[in-house]
Every structure is written in structure tokens, then in C-alpha cells.
Symmetry: D3
Subunit: 221 residues, 6 copies
Amino acid sequence: MNQPVAAFAGRSLLSRYTACTVLAIGAHPDDLELGVGGTLARLARAGAHVVMAVVSVPGDRERRTAEARAAAAILGCELRFLIEGARRIDDFKPYQLVGMLDELVADLSPAAVFTHSASEFHRDHASVYEATVSAQRLRFFDFFSYHPTMCRPVPVPFNPRAYVDISETVDAKLEAINAHASQFSCRGIDTEVYRDFARLHGRMIGAKYAEGLDVGRMLLA
Amino acid sequence: MNQPVAAFAGRSLLSRYTACTVLAIGAHPDDLELGVGGTLARLARAGAHVVMAVVSVPGDRERRTAEARAAAAILGCELRFLIEGARRIDDFKPYQLVGMLDELVADLSPAAVFTHSASEFHRDHASVYEATVSAQRLRFFDFFSYHPTMCRPVPVPFNPRAYVDISETVDAKLEAINAHASQFSCRGIDTEVYRDFARLHGRMIGAKYAEGLDVGRMLLA
Amino acid sequence: MNQPVAAFAGRSLLSRYTACTVLAIGAHPDDLELGVGGTLARLARAGAHVVMAVVSVPGDRERRTAEARAAAAILGCELRFLIEGARRIDDFKPYQLVGMLDELVADLSPAAVFTHSASEFHRDHASVYEATVSAQRLRFFDFFSYHPTMCRPVPVPFNPRAYVDISETVDAKLEAINAHASQFSCRGIDTEVYRDFARLHGRMIGAKYAEGLDVGRMLLA
Amino acid sequence: MNQPVAAFAGRSLLSRYTACTVLAIGAHPDDLELGVGGTLARLARAGAHVVMAVVSVPGDRERRTAEARAAAAILGCELRFLIEGARRIDDFKPYQLVGMLDELVADLSPAAVFTHSASEFHRDHASVYEATVSAQRLRFFDFFSYHPTMCRPVPVPFNPRAYVDISETVDAKLEAINAHASQFSCRGIDTEVYRDFARLHGRMIGAKYAEGLDVGRMLLA
Amino acid sequence: MNQPVAAFAGRSLLSRYTACTVLAIGAHPDDLELGVGGTLARLARAGAHVVMAVVSVPGDRERRTAEARAAAAILGCELRFLIEGARRIDDFKPYQLVGMLDELVADLSPAAVFTHSASEFHRDHASVYEATVSAQRLRFFDFFSYHPTMCRPVPVPFNPRAYVDISETVDAKLEAINAHASQFSCRGIDTEVYRDFARLHGRMIGAKYAEGLDVGRMLLA
Amino acid sequence: MNQPVAAFAGRSLLSRYTACTVLAIGAHPDDLELGVGGTLARLARAGAHVVMAVVSVPGDRERRTAEARAAAAILGCELRFLIEGARRIDDFKPYQLVGMLDELVADLSPAAVFTHSASEFHRDHASVYEATVSAQRLRFFDFFSYHPTMCRPVPVPFNPRAYVDISETVDAKLEAINAHASQFSCRGIDTEVYRDFARLHGRMIGAKYAEGLDVGRMLLA
């Protein structure tokens, strides 16, 4: 294996966001847990104020809202829903979606934003990515995209550039994913695959488990 | 303009490399000054040990070596030459180039490496990039690519993802570039274009001057 | 620097469009001035009939319409608005947008069309680009895309292939941009950055100022 | 079909190069005839000084040199061989190849250069493309790449952006290709496929036959 | 030419789908005939149950429906229309389109699906491609994309990876295309260009005529 | 999970190559085992004649040759070494490498060839890929690329399009990898990561374990 992360000479970037607000945007409940749950838990434990923004709940609202609340509690994050009621992302025009995110960004002044990636196959996910790109024009923040998310497998190209060691939070991540019982256990879908996935990403940095992110724009110094 | 960087909520990454060694690799004298001079000066001033590794001096060795020394002194960096004498990068096989970098990385244990980018049009620059990619297999380090460098203009695609505010070091960068008189003033080539370029990159983050970098692989936390 | 354009052996393409109609399409007022204003002024001065087609005015219609008129007058171009009233591009379906452009192309028989580029981050800009691509099916015209436009900075990949020397019209371009006071001076946004940008593009062809374009399809001979 | 080219409102670019030198670079005999023969014939007939530069003759030198001479005569172009004797492109280092092209460009001051494309699968072809890119740094010229060339079919991605109507010179093109009997008729390889190909490209501009080119960098005006 | 396909050592994949259902999805009548008509005819003749699903009939419904029926009969395929009446693809939201295809896939359990390609310039075609990508999440099938289709020429990048020898069915393909008289003969558009196109694709595999396909996901063994 | 492969309606492609020769090309010993070992074992068990061609043994020849022999025996394949002695791939010019593969292809008339992928970071691997692309010009064969291979982790983009279910041969694959003790166990490198990897690829097709391949060119029917 690679030399262990413990031997990495630089300091963790965790401290960068310690006293800041970090915003994570997911199209639907469970997207953030799948894509970036381990990272959010690490940031929250390190003292950042982490806001999970779920854009829409496409159906079964009461149950899925409760699942999302349970998951956010496990990760130590604040949870917000952007679209009220049963309307879907498709029911909004692009400029309306941009408006929602502009408002959120103005309200939170986040130091970093985590969102879907450019290569997402799900139209809702791609719409959220595009709206987040536009939200950059009003305010600078570090912009990261997480791995394409899905309950069922469809291959999507994604080439991570930045890694977060989630060895200490991978269990919380899995627990948060499993809180979405309506999406996984009730359908007989095994979630251990996400642990396998984290192990493979971990290998790239010599850690036990990791999440990979794409970098849209960040301020190094 | 964008909101000023002063308002950016996160902490600078400078502190990440403060007590570390940072390695910058350029194919020839002046490449590092053009591509990443302002960043290296900032890192050096912040307390990092910055090594500028020049792979080859394709001709006029005495003069160009002296120019490179003067430039490194301006930026506050240590300078090393990898290939002795008049041999060119083309005179070495890819595995020999990888061997040189492996040795350098083993010697320095750098926390970050800055090198040419994947889209470079100059064969020597591309060879250095490829050898640096291979050097990653033995040891983890943050891997950044700087803007394609050239004295004379050839358009090359490059899409930066990470920015360094060089407002405080842009003058040192220009001074270091101008130390390469044989490449610029002696040929009547104006170097103020690099200040224009830094101003445009600066605009992307709301700073007066910046350098843009591509991110190959980095450890966020 | 490069050898000056004055030394370029070939003849200018200006003469190509001299007695022709050239169509430039922008999503909103100010897009054309930012992206291709210097080129349009040069074409108009050389005797081409240049039509600036603004697809929509997203708000503050009276003021922005007046600004657009002033800017078109500075550049010497005819101005048309495609969508009446307060409706936005998002309010039309793609085939409706294609229909508008089909009609415009049938009416004007343009020798060249300038439009947004494929990599635009603004959904409205991308929609205009896509509709222009479709408009090619009915009639041949030279198809060029201009640099992504925005008042506030968001990095967007764009690799120009064709350059227009705008040394003689860069002042008109800046004046036309500044005519959109509601977008720039009233918001405290400095427009000199567009002069810097033109200087950097100019460097690629050895001219003082230039605009860069992407080439979708053109007839060379 | 499209509206006929006759109806195209703009003037032909042929006049651009009429009193100029145009340089076409091919790795081996027959590459230029296959890729851009119809265009070269049109330019020559319009009064341009067209130089066909063949970088190497990989074997059977006497015969293939004679074939190339016959083909150049058919197209009305001057022919030059860059590498003497039996040495191959692989026998030269990249900087040596760049040196050869630098010399040629300095000698001819071409208004336009036609060369292989970036996506060529043949290593020699790719080397010639890369060296031509570098030759741009010393002098400005319009830079075009022609369709990947091969006697036997291997699919290679190539997306033309500029078209030349070769309806009047397609017969000369085929005749010039057939002059390379050692590569085609002697091996039982049918060359009519190149006429089919020209017909398909022609369809894109409403002409009977055309060649498609990629645009690296050009000065529009 | 290449060695003839007859000499290809492997067995045809035709047998793979012999007793299976194969689903081909086209945005409008004539898309499937243009893109994949020869392949569908071969599959039908070999015993596969081939369903041609036309998503919408944008106008002139009675006539175009009759033309599509005639074409499907020529190719030996079953024909289905997904959207009733005059509504267009643009009138449906992405999730509704995905729902239609989910239902179709659930109903047919296809072994392979042929659909538009990712690089289509027509918004309706791109929407059908994207919805088919999503339909993969519920069920595995071989996923192929056919060449961009259009009655009038607009260049679109497409790089086929898989070929089907249609030497025996190219006449049926042309006949099926010509059954759409309202789109071709009535507009004076020549369809022999599609035979030229098939000949060029054929050359890539040493067959007289072929269709090229992109491979999204397939099970080899 | 996805619906199980058992439910896939089509027939396996295994039968395609049953009585054929299949050629797998790897730059060094262990590349083929890592990239495509499970597929080769399945093909061999199904009756194909599988030839593993190792281009060079960069050092420690006796030991590594013996390891490669043991691994090939485990997979049931014939083994050939292309370069004798201690010379490296870098010691050969591209046309010499193409010549070696041309000879091998002429000798074996393979129905399919498996080789490195276009995006490989190791120069030797990329050279082998490029030479295989050229070898296509003389003879048609199905052309597949396997996942980038390395003992130590460097992230490389790779997007598989074709999958092989290796549930029955994953143990043989791991055993064959472990036969290269000098590369793994002797260096303390754990090989179970390749089982994890196969499990993740398997998920994409609903199988327990799979290998993913890119498709360069194949004949479907």
C-alpha cells in the first residue's frame, strides 16, 4: 500500500472550516449521505456548522423526511428542505432553482459548498449541479462535487481529485445511509457496497476509508 | 468584482505547508517563475522549505544557471538542477526521468509538488508532467499543475481549479521572471503580460492578483 | 512578442462579409458587447450589415432596452429583440426557441452567425447556443461562438480557435459595455477587466487587442 | 440537401492566400494527397504558392519519391523532402523535428499551414502534428489540420470545423492519390472510398465534394 | 481493403438476441430507420422480436404514422407509439419520459436497447438518450447508441465502437427510409447519402455496408 | 441490487470465441493478471486458445519469468515473451513495437485482442496501447482495453463499457496475481483490493464479481 496518511507531511484542511459554515446540497433525501456523508460527519465533529440542504422530496414525504432527520442527526448536521410539498425539481425553471440557492448562499455565507457532479445521469442531480455553478457568481466559496449517487447501479464517469480520510466516520456514514430504510432495506438493497467503495477510494491516499471529490474552484491560499 | 478574499470565511491553506517541504518541478529555467512564481514566494515567506527543481538547461548553461540562481533568490527558494551538462530531456528515456523524480521525492518527502500540466504543447514539458504522475505511485503528496509556460504565445487549453492570491508577491514574481534576461529583455519580449494574466486570474477569486492551478490529487482532510 | 499582425501574409477576412448580413445572437442585453463587441464594430465599419439579436430582457425592460439601443448605436449595428415583454428564455420550450431563430435566419440570410458557446454555465446562454446549432440545418452560414459572458466572474473553459484584431475598436467595445450602466457602474463593477482580457487574446496573434472565437462550422473556400 | 454553396452570401477565402505561400506538411508520401489534396489543388489554381513538405520516405525511396513528384505535379504544387535518406521520423528527437519545421517556416513565411491532426493514431503523424504546434511560437500563420490519413481503415475520431468545396478538384485529388501506385493499386486497395468520403463532407456544406479541416488557430480579421 | 468479414474468426452476435426482445427507441418517425434500420432488419430476420418505439409524432400525425407503419413492415419489426396525440417531447418533464421508458422496459424485458447518442444536437433526441440512461437503473440490458440522425446535414461528433454488417439489409434500410416520403422525396431530399454512409462504415470492418454504434454498457460474457 | 445476470435474456458472448484464438497483451508480467485475469480464465475454460503476450521483463528476469509462467498456468493460458533479454520497451522505437505486434497478429489471427487502455499513466503501458491501435490496420479483430494496472495506487480515469462476469474465476485471478510474489507479498502489498474492485464492477451488472473493459472496435454482427 501507499505510505499511510499519518505520514503525510501537511496539515489537515479540517481546520480550514472549523469555525465556518459548510453547505451540502443534495437533490433528494439520501444523496448527501451516499456521496459525502463521511466528510460531513468529520467536518461536524471538527466544529464546523454543517447544513444539509435537500432540494426536494419526490414522494412519501412524511416518511422520507423523518429518515432524513434521523440521518442528519447521526452525522451531526443541520437539515433544511428547500422545496415544500410534493413539487419536484422538474417543476421549477432553472432560474428559480438558482434563486433558491442564491438565497441559501446569501443566508449562510458558506466557506465551502458540496454538490452533485457535472456527469450525473439523473436529470434532477444535473440541475442541482448547474444551479450551484451559477450560485458562484455572487460570492466566493470552495466548490466541491461528490461522487454520482444512486441506489441502483448505473455506471457514471467520475474522476476524483481531492480525498477526505473517513476512516473515523465511515460507520456513521453507513448508519446514516441505513436510516433511509425506505430506499434500501425495504427494497432488499444491500448498503455494504458503499463501504467497499470507501475502501477503494481510501487506497488512493493510503487510508482505510475515503471519499473522493471533484474540485470546481477553491482558494488554496 | 466578487466579494473580496478578505471576506472568505475559511482559513488559508498556507499554514498547511508551513513546516513542510514543497517541491516545484520545471523543465527549463524560467518555467517555474512563469507558472507558479508568486505561489512559491508566498509559501517561502510563510515558512515552507521550497525546492525549485530545474530538469535541464538546454543551452547557454553558465548564463542561464546564473539567471535561475538570481530568480530563486528573489523568490526565497532553494534551487536544484537535475540533469548535468548539455544533455536535453529528449536525451533521456521516460523511465530515466521517472527515476530522477523518484529519487528527488524520496529525498525531500514533499507535502506538495507543483509541475507542468497535462495539456502542455512543449514535448519536454509534457514529459516532465508524465514523469511526475508516475512519481505519485511511491508516496502521497498534493499534486498541482501550473499554467502552460512559454516565452512566446501559443494558445494551450488550461482550466484552473485552485487559486492562490499572489497580490503580495506579484512584484517578486515579475522580478524573478525578469532575472531571465536572456529569455526576455534581450529578445525584446515584454513581461508585463504576466501581470495582466495574474490580474485576470485574480478576478476569479476577488483578489488583485492570483495564479491558477489544476489539481491532480490532493488530501483535503 | 509574436511578429506583428501587420506582417501576416494573408488578406483579412473582413472583405468576406463586406456586402453581407452578419447576425449576432445574445441571450440578454450586454452579452454581445462583452463577447464580440469589438468584432461587430469592425464588421460594421467595413460595410457589413450587422444585426444584434437580443433574445430576452429578463427585467427592468425600459432601462435595459435603452442601454442596449445606445450600445448598438456605438457599435454601428441594428438591434432586434426576439421575445416581447417580461417572458424569460426559460418560459419557452426548445423547439419554440429554434423556431424564433429559424425565422430570423430565413429573414436575414446571414453569411455568418455569432452566438454563445457550448460551455456556457448560464442555462439561458446554453439554450441559445443549442438553438443556434439547430438553426444550421436549414441554411449554411459560418458559425462562430464567442467567449462566455458574465458580469461577475465564474471560471468557464473556453478555447478560442479564431481571432479578430480589435485594436481599432476596443474603445468602442468598452464604451458599448459601459452603456449598460445598470449592470456595471451602478453595481460598482469595473469594466477595465475586459480590456485586459482583449490584450491577452491580442498577444496570441501579435496584435494589441483581440477577441477570440470558437469555430463551429465555416466555409473556407 | 442544404442550400447550395452558390447561394452562400460571403466571399471565398481563396482570395486570402492568392499571392501567398501555403505550406502543407505530411509525414510520408501520399498523406497530403489523402488528407488535403483537393484543397491544395484549389489553392494552387487560384494563384497561391503551395509547398508540399514530406517529412520522411520510410522505404522504397526511389519509387515513392517519383510517385510523390508525379502527384505534386498533378496538384500544381512544389514538393520538398525534409529528411534525406532512409532515416525515419522515429530516428529524430522531438526538438530536432521542431527545428526542421522552424527552418521551413522561417524560409517560407507561410500564410497558412496544413498538418496532421491531434487525434492521429500513427505515431509519426502525431509527432508531425506536435512539432507543427511548436512551430507556431515563432511566427503567426493560419493553422489547419486535415483528416487522419491511412491506406487501410482504422477508425479515428475527427470533427471538422472548416470545409473547402473541392467539386472542381476532386478528380485531381483522386488522380494524385492514384499516382501512389505502390500504396494502392499494387496492393489491390480501391481509392474510390476517398471520393465517397468527399461526397459526405460535401453534404455538410451543400457542395458536391468537400474536404473537412480542423482549425487550430486562425486570424479572421 | 481490410480482410473480409467472412474471415473474422469469431461468431456473430446475432445469435445472442435470437430468441429475445430487442427495443429500439427513436424520438420521431424515421429516426430509427436512419440510425439503425439495417441492424434492426438483420435482427428481425435472425428471429429476434424487435420493437420500434417512436416517442412522439410532432405533426401531420395520420400521414407520418402510416409512413412509420410501412417502414416497420419493411424491416420486419413491431411498431409502438409512446405519446398519443399532438403533444411533443418538450411537453413532458424528464421524469415523465423516464416513466414511459421504465414501463416499456418492464413490459418487454429487452436483451438490448438501441437509442439516440449522447452528442445529439436535437434537444428531443438528447432527451430520449438521457431518459434511456436512467432506465438502466432498474434492469440490465445491452445499451447501444446509433449515429445522430437528421434529414438535413448538421455535423455532430460521433465515434462508433461497434459495427453491424448490413450488406444484406442495406436495401431494406433504404426502402424503409424512403417510406417516409413526407420527409424526403416530397422535400426533394436525396436519400442515397445514407448508402454512401453505410459504405464508409463498412470499410472499417471490411464489409460492403455497415452501421456503427456506440456502446454504453454491455455484458460480454 | 440489479436483477441478477442469470435473468439476462441474451446469450453469453463466450461462445463467440470458443474455437478461436484470443490475444492479451501486457507491458510487463502481472499486468494481464491484474487487468483481465478473470476474463482470460473464463475464455480458456470455455475452450478458447488464449495467448498472454508479455512485452518486456524490466528486470529480475529469471524470477519474474517463472512467476508469469505459474500465473499463466493457473489461468490456463499460453505465455509468450516478446522482447528477449534485459531491454525495455523504451529501448524500442514505436515502429519496432508495431512491427512486433503485427507479426504476432499475423501469426495468431486472433478473434479478439485485449490490451492496455488509452488513459494509462505508465509510459510503457501507453506505448503498448498505441502499438495495438496501429496493429488494427492489417486485420480486423475485436479490440478491448482493460483497466489501468499498477501495484501501487495512482488514480487514472477509466470508464468501462463492457463487463465480464468473473464470479467463477475471481479466485483463479487472485491466485494468479499472488503468483507474482516479487511484486506483492514480498513488498507487503495486499492483493485483496483487487477482489474489492471486482465486486464493485460486478455490481454494475448484478453479478458477484466482474471485470470492466473499454471497447475500441468490435463486430457485433
